[in-house]
């Protein structure tokens, strides 16, 4: 009994000692996909090796659960670090005064020169509120063997070539494009690219900020282009029944040839299929419009209510270093924002990097760039349009009503 009591006392003391002495750094993250989880764990292990005094407590959330939990913990019991998205999604919390200004880290580490591509997305009113660890390009993942089978020798670079590719695939009995719209956002990728290619980045940004009506003629032009694809049977049938992962088997089994998506899909292809998959960027529609891309950016942020901000800043600086960015982005199949870091040596990363280097301007993504409520109504509209292109006028009126509710009438 006596021994028992001493042991309990010793353990209790030890517990108190560890919480009091070690420098705890609590990190809440939404990086729950296997590759993301791996990348985060590696980064944390490297950080702990470099700073043995600091003990990182890593709390992993599912993507959707994180969105919910975040609104609680940022106010009530803030961690020292969070993962989140740059751009408008970050700005929402900056406006609420919940994210820390980390311009000093950017200054001290010279990140303005090292990460020129993501300064804009990390800034609100000229101050930086986060440090990106990866960003990625969207584009077409396609099966080279199916293209060969349909007699397609070159990847399409213009709208006419793209339509031609679709016709050839259909003639060969292959559905040109797979898509799963149960999650809604895969359809938003199509809208973003079509709008960027038809109307350019300035118009797209205005639309995202609620400064243009959805019933505008220019928006209708975008849907006219999209309707050409729907009517030419580009998309797999019954896509609202499938999540973005569930739409992948069509491509794996050789029933569909292309998928407009982001690099996180790469690790989801089975080994033998991945060997046959290649990448090309979204084709040009109007020569007069520049090349504009979606490049969603993922970043680390410090909550204003964090307890250990000093060590959190150390972590931001560490995560921004070129070699760490190389490793993290490599595991993620994404691109490192630091220009001194090297892009993973594979065709997807290289292709995406080359395309983004050419880009005249970048956006984040539909549901990251615009109001969340509007994004939801918009994406439901895209899904309905893909199933019923003839309802386009009603759909646009419904989205416009939501835009007017949020941003006010124009």
């Amino acid at each position: 009994m006596k021994y028992f009591r001493t042991t309990v006392c010793a353990l209790a003391l030890a517990a108190v000692a560890t919480t009091a002495n070690a420098r705890d750094l609590v990190m809440n993250a939404n990086t729950s996909d296997p590759a993301q989880k791996q990348a985060m764990e590696d980064l944390i292990a490297d950080f702990e090796a470099a700073y043995p005094d600091i003990d990182v407590k890593f709390n992993l959330y599912d993507h959707e659960a994180f969105k919910v939990a975040m609104r609680n913990f940022l106010v009530s019991d803030a961690p020292d670090l969070i993962t989140w998205n740059a751009g408008n999604r970050m700005k929402v919390f900056v406006d609420l005064g919940l994210l820390e200004d980390v311009s000093d880290v950017w200054e001290a580490e010279g990140l303005y020169e090292k990460m020129p591509a993501v300064v804009g997305a990390s800034s609100v009113d000229g101050k930086q509120y986060g440090v990106p660890y990866a960003y990625y390009a969207w584009g077409f993942y396609y099966r080279q063997d199916l293209f060969d089978q349909a007699g397609i020798t070159e990847t399409p670079t213009t709208w006419e070539e793209f339509l031609d590719v679709g016709a050839k695939l259909n003639a060969a009995g292959i559905t040109p494009v797979t898509i799963g719209t149960k999650n809604l956002w895969p359809a938003a990728g199509w809208f973003d690219f079509l709008n960027l290619r038809v109307n350019g980045v300035d118009f797209h940004a205005e639309l995202m900020d609620g400064k243009v009506k959805y019933t505008d003629e220019r928006v209708k032009n975008v849907f006219a282009k999209w309707a050409e694809l729907v009517e030419a049977d580009f998309f797999v049938e019954n896509h609202p029944a499938y999540s973005f992962q569930e739409a992948l088997p069509f491509m794996n089994q050789g029933d569909a040839a292309m998928y407009l998506l982001a690099p996180f899909i790469v690790s989801m292809f089975p080994e033998d299929v991945r060997a046959k998959v290649e990448w090309f960027p979204f084709p040009i529609i109007d020569e007069a419009v520049g090349i504009y891309e979606d490049a969603p950016t993922d970043s680390f942020h410090i909550p204003v209510n964090a307890k250990n901000k000093d060590d959190a800043r150390l972590f931001l600086a560490f995560a921004a270093q070129a070699d760490n960015q190389t490793k993290t982005a490599g595991t993620l199949d994404m691109l490192p924002p630091n220009v001194n870091a090297s892009v993973k040596d594979d065709r997807f990363a290289k292709g995406g990097f080359a395309q983004l280097s050419k880009a005249d301007g970048i956006m984040q993504f539909y549901d990251r760039d615009t109001d969340p409520a509007l994004a939801k109504v918009g994406m439901q509209g895209f899904q309905e349009f893909l199933q019923n292109p003839d309802r386009i006028d009603q759909i646009l009126e419904r989205i416009e009503a939501e835009r007017a509710r949020i941003y006010g009438p124009l």
Binding site: R71, K182, N238, A241, F250, K376, Q380, Q387
Partner: protein, 311 residues
Amino acid sequence: MAETQTMPAARPVSTRRNTTFFSRNKLVIMPLVFIAPALAMFSLFVIWPILQSISLSFTEWQGIGPKKWVGLSNYRYLFSDPVFWTSLVNNIYWLVLFLLAPVFGLLVALFLNQTVFGIRLVKSLFFFPFVVSQIVVGLVFAWFYDPAFGLLATILEPFGIEFPPILADEDWATFGIIVAGLWPQTAYCMILYLTGLNSVNPEMIEAARLDGAKGWRLLVKIVLPQLRAATFIALVVTVIGALRSFDLVAVMTEGGPYNSSNVLAYYMYDNAIFRYRMGYASAIATVLFMIMNVYIIWFLLRLWKNEKGAR
């Protein structure tokens, strides 16, 4: 100190112990004392949140940051929101079609209420769907319905029948989910009826048999009246289950395609969690609460009448 000295003066009171305030009102106070802990918990975790969400429904709030008082505008917006009406209509479909669960449950219970070798195993197999999580039921049915690789599509394919894409079709999605919901709900009603059947008086049945009643008449005139308690509970549970249908919708369609299978409970969740419109979501919740109140009041009245009858 002064007060302790006055204590002896109060002594005469203690001699009249039998007529203290407590003893005079014992019958009122003791029940209140016993009910107090439960009442406190119930008020804190049920009544208070209800009042809170009703008061939230008059505001515009993101979930964090300042709340803005907007009066009735959430409700006004609600009535012009087509998704709200679709959800309400879908809730009515749920309500009506879910009433099949007690009917099926009774049929299965009558079928299983016999003494045959191995019937216990069969009973537990029939009860199985209720034990499985709704999430799993939803996932499995979604796989059944999968128009390309699903079980139903694969079975029908050799016969040249093209299985409709249930969950991707705006006209069918709700019904596809209701069918999935009926499966565990039937099991639940079945177990209610099975226990009810256990307490059916065998002498009454025998007497009825002697008087020449059999089949349908025996069921309707003799057995069903004795199952009234089970029927009542089955109805209430099914109606409430239909109104709060949420998990199956969330797993199988997320309210889609384009809101055609949405229900009030999911639309509320969607607004609160994905669109950050707590006020609007609270307004939906309040409407749903009012609809449920109709049934809850009916339920309480019945209980109250029954108890009065028992006394």
